[in-house]
């Protein structure tokens, strides 16, 4: 299989959460993933994109970049925003930690990203934004 790359930029609007899931599913298709792998990646991407929209941009205007790389049956996905950033990444990663209880957030987003992907890397700078890098080996 040849190496393959993609990059999409979209507005930080909640309707683009399902668009991002469809985009990553389409990108993965050439590597013939199992249904479970597909669902795992879609869930992880949905979590990261939702976070960019509601936490990164706090519901305001902004751009989200979704990129993907497929190489030797390993998928890497990057979700980037240029929003408020995360003050304490260690705390944010903890299961059930959320700063938006008012929105009934469950605080399980990072826990899901970690569980459904093989690797999760969070890079964030206050007032500059957040970059989530996740990878998963596809066995399908």
């Amino acid at each position: 299989m040849r190496e393959n790359n993609m990059k999409i930029e979209f507005d930080a609007l909640s309707e683009n959460e399902s668009f991002a899931r469809l985009a990553i599913a389409g990108f993965m298709a050439s590597s013939d993933p199992t249904l479970e792998e597909l669902e795992d990646v879609k869930t992880a991407v949905s979590e990261a994109v939702t976070n960019a929209i509601i936490h990164g941009y706090v519901g305001k205007e902004g751009k989200v970049i979704l990129s993907g790389n497929l190489k030797e049956h390993c998928l890497t996905v990057i979700i980037q925003d240029f929003g408020v950033g995360i003050t304490d990444v260690e705390q944010a990663r903890k299961p059930m930690f959320t700063t938006r209880e008012d929105l009934e957030r469950s605080g399980m987003g990072f826990t899901f990203m970690e569980a459904f992907m093989d690797e999760l890397h969070i890079e964030s700078k206050v007032n500059q934004g957040t970059t989530i890098t996740m990878s998963k080996r596809l066995r399908g």
Binding site: S14, E15, E17, S18, R21, E36, E39, K42, T43, S46, E47, T50, I53, I54, L103, E104, R105, S106, G107, M108, G109, T111, F112, A115
Partner: protein, 102 residues
């Protein structure tokens, strides 16, 4: 998505996908009915649902909080293997009764 009331049971047929974008109407619809009618149990019907991220957990926990202060209960039915896994990972199965059907 639709809401059905049978005596004091509210059945919520959930949409195909539950994410942050579409979970608002589920919350608002359920809470309006809870305010207006005497509901003892909310049943979340997952028969049409094949995707749910952590936004869905917030929906279920939120309704659980709202109904349990009146002594009501929350249950779920027709969960796919995938949704079941999400219930287990998030501890939802500790507060929500799952109806087994084959």
């Amino acid at each position: 998505m639709d809401f059905e009331i049978e005596q004091d049971i509210l059945i919520i047929r959930l949409p195909k996908e539950i994410d942050h974008h579409n979970c608002g109407p589920i919350k608002e619809g359920a809470d309006n009915i809870l305010l207006q009618q005497n509901i003892r149990e909310i049943v979340f019907d997952f028969s049409q649902t094949d995707f749910m991220d952590s936004s869905g957990i917030g929906v279920l926990v939120g309704r659980y909080k709202n109904i349990s202060c009146f002594g009501g209960v929350v249950s779920a039915i027709y969960l796919s293997k995938r949704i079941r896994k999400i219930f287990a990972m998030s501890g939802l199965d500790n507060i929500i009764r799952i109806y087994e059907v084959d």
